[in-house]
Symmetry: C2
Subunit: 471 residues, 2 copies
């Protein structure tokens, strides 16, 4: 992260903590430079950036001030919910939302993969070109069902950062994270079985459950605390659960982080009942703080935690390269993979294996994390400016999704359609649950690079919310 970005973040943090009230004066260049141990020019670069982002304004001969329009945004309330097992059916709406995936027209507040500018397009292209020159034939060869050994080796190296040790043989390369989850459920469940998920949870999980004829029990996911082990215990006591799908780190959509202690307890609870846990780890590398959060997998002693992830949200969505650690279900998982898509496309695996081996992936992740963190805060600050009073927003420590709770009068699905007509993609709250919760919620993506277009789009989203809130 560049020095000036650190300063920008510091100022936005002041706003969010309430330490800097609307209309108040931002610390002077000199004060800030001393406080943060950076040069005056760095601070002025940061302040000019914040001004360009419309967060602060300079007044002649009196310095910078937080713009009047800014307010603090409270956290969304935790859904009060009773536990019930519901056959999943949300598909029509979800398919409509999915249409925005890959659509170039919509302003990308709906899709959660980083925009082109944040992806290592030219770096990966360089590697691809070299492979095209040196090993053209290999690009056309079938990869094995398990996937590229070079790539699995790199994943094994990296697993230490995620808190557990592994070998290349522990991995199965998949077509993105969703195929990993799909294979997990094919291996772990039969139609009619019950699966535990978070609420809210990623709508693709619900769609997957529906297409496999499974029932969902939702345990609350709290923006502040993630999953509460007591909720899990309660659900396990009441239902015959075949498997769980949890996203402990920066859950999509509420961005919640489940604390390490809770992770440990949840794994123990499930192990005691030998119930497998499918861990969605896809957002963990997008931590805004210095350290990557831990995983369920690191507490797994039985080989019953299947960690699933991919490069789709950090490096190459279009490559469709993900992975899973099938643990004790490996043979069955290989069988499902061999009978659906056989193996993952070779070019993406070859390029990513070299990208990781070169160490450039880690350098890229550093830049990406800084950019997403800054965007998240900018986005959040502007939500405070553009959206009606009564709007609540999450304050995630990582990931690229911002979860908004709009005033009760706003129906999220109607809001989605209005935004769509305005050429802006958003994800309505209703698709993140099998229940009737989150009707007035929407999920925004912080993956797009902040520019005038995105700013105007957000202003437009705010206006739609105003209009609907006061109807």
């Amino acid at each position: 992260m560049f020095r000036y970005q650190v300063v920008e973040n510091a100022v936005i943090a002041l706003v969010e903590s309430g330490a800097l009230g609307v209309g108040e004066k931002v610390p002077s260049l000199r004060t800030m430079a001393t406080r943060m141990g950076v040069s005056l020019s760095t601070v002025s670069q940061a302040y000019l950036g914040l001004e360009a982002k419309g967060i602060i304004e300079s007044r002649p001969r009196s310095g910078f001030f937080l713009r009047e329009s800014f307010r603090r945004i409270p956290l969304p309330s935790r859904a009060e919910m009773s536990l019930e097992a519901v056959p999943v059916s949300r598909n029509q709406l979800i398919l409509m939302v999915l249409e925005t995936v890959g659509s170039r027209e919509q302003l990308p507040y709906g899709v959660i993969c980083p925009s082109d500018e944040l992806l290592p397009g030219s770096e990966l292209a360089k590697i691809m070109i070299r492979i095209c020159r040196e090993r053209p034939a290999e690009l056309l060869r079938y990869e094995t069902v398990e996937g590229s050994l070079d790539l699995r080796r790199q994943l094994a190296f990296r697993s230490l950062d995620a808190g557990f040790e592994s070998t290349p043989g522990d991995y199965l390369i998949t077509s993105g994270c969703l195929e990993a989850l799909y294979i997990s459920l094919r291996v772990l469940t039969r139609p009619g079985d019950t699966v535990l998920v978070q609420s809210p949870t990623y709508y693709c999980f619900l769609q997957l459950l529906e297409s496999l004829g499974l029932r969902a029990v939702e345990v609350p996911s709290c923006p502040g605390r993630g999953i509460d082990p007591d909720d899990v215990a309660r659900a396990l006591d009441r239902f015959a659960v075949s498997a769980c799908i949890f996203s402990p780190n920066y859950n999509n959509p509420d961005g919640s982080l489940t604390p390490e202690e809770a992770k440990k307890r949840i794994v123990e609870l499930l192990a005691a009942r030998s119930i497998p846990l499918v861990e969605d780890d896809i957002a963990s590398d997008l931590h805004f703080g210095p350290r990557r959060p831990g995983t369920f997998k690191q507490y797994d002693r039985e080989g019953t935690v299947i960690l699933c992830s991919s490069f789709s949200k950090t490096a190459a969505p279009g490559y469709r390269v993900g992975w899973m650690t099938p643990g004790r279900y490996r043979e069955k998982a290989l069988e499902v993979k061999a009978t659906t898509s056989v193996s993952v496309a070779s070019p993406g695996q070859m390029v990513l294996a070299e990208f990781l081996a070169s160490g450039r992936y880690d350098r890229h992740l550093k830049r990406l994390r800084a950019a997403v963190a800054l965007q998240m805060r900018t986005l959040r600050a502007h939500v405070g400016e553009y959206f009606p009073a009564g709007t609540r927003a999450t304050d995630p420590d990582g990931g690229a999704v911002l979860w908004l709770e709009l005033p009760p009068a706003v129906d999220g699905v109607a809001y989605f359609h209005r935004a769509r007509e305005a050429g802006i993609g958003v994800a309505p709250g209703a698709i993140f649950t099998t229940r009737d919760d989150y009707a007035n919620c929407v999920r925004l993506s912080a993956g797009g690079v902040w520019d005038e277009r995105m700013k105007d789009g957000l202003r437009c989203l705010g206006e739609i919310a105003f209009a609907m809130a006061t109807q």
Copy 2:
């Protein structure tokens, strides 16, 4: 195809038709040149090639002779079979066979994709390099669930060659042909349903049926005539069939071609009972004759024929790019795709779309067809030389698989293991059926380029057969 290859084929045809007996004199250079309207040098190039392949030998001052060792090989007998619905379970053996897929050690008589030399590696690499330079960001973008519009447009253009008209909207791009078949079965069947297949049929189809908990009814596939509509009618009368999976053109493994009239009748039979037909069209572009055979799809009036194919056997196995025409099941098919692998990797789709648009794919197919046809005949000729009496072999008009019926004493599975120890991959007959037929059969691939190594490998396979036949 080069002139000299035409001459080589003509000579091998003489052998196979029996017109040229073992030890007999091959037509003189001059006779052949006049008969075929080519130059003397072309004929001598062909004869030297045939001598190098060990098919003919030159005798000083008396010309070329068919080597003593050659015999004609009869066609395999058609399996006499009673119809029954069998829950599929062949998996362990199949998984062992699948290990040879992607394995570099085994001599590739088991895998049926063309060897590197026959694939357009450098042509596709050139296109990939240009795309990397011109549109690096696009390579990383998610493709839509349906798949690349450019590629679907090309497929629509080509469908006329396959005998039917289509639009880009009729296609869904999949991870190879197998995912297309998988999606078809997910859409058309429920666990416990019964599916009609050919016998013998591609083992991956059976593995797919097993993993989806389906039952198979096998109708005989005759090397000479393919599928007999009367057999289909009989099966439909006896069983509640949910769907059929047929490979009318160059069925893997028996290479059989179902005649146009039979195709038409089968489609009518099924339409009358509104039973969907999944058509595996993957081998059709590998026709040895001048014209591509027709499809079931061209007789489809109800939108109940799902044609499935891919580029894996003709251009780029490792790209994992296939397609299907889901017809009236389109929405459900999109839903299954969206909940398993979401979309197909972008790089392969982009490169293939340009390859097709440039017209180079067709030029490549011409070369590939000629090469595979020549290898098939060379392979067949040497089977006659190396394998014990009583061996039968198919004589396909297209495709890259040769189906051998070994002497009754030879057990195909034991044969597979002996060959594997010798470092040669073959596919044992038993995995191509749910029944106990084809125990003494093996499938050889004609996809490898013929060279000393392949020749020694085939000789070794013959020796193993000799040893096991006389045990």
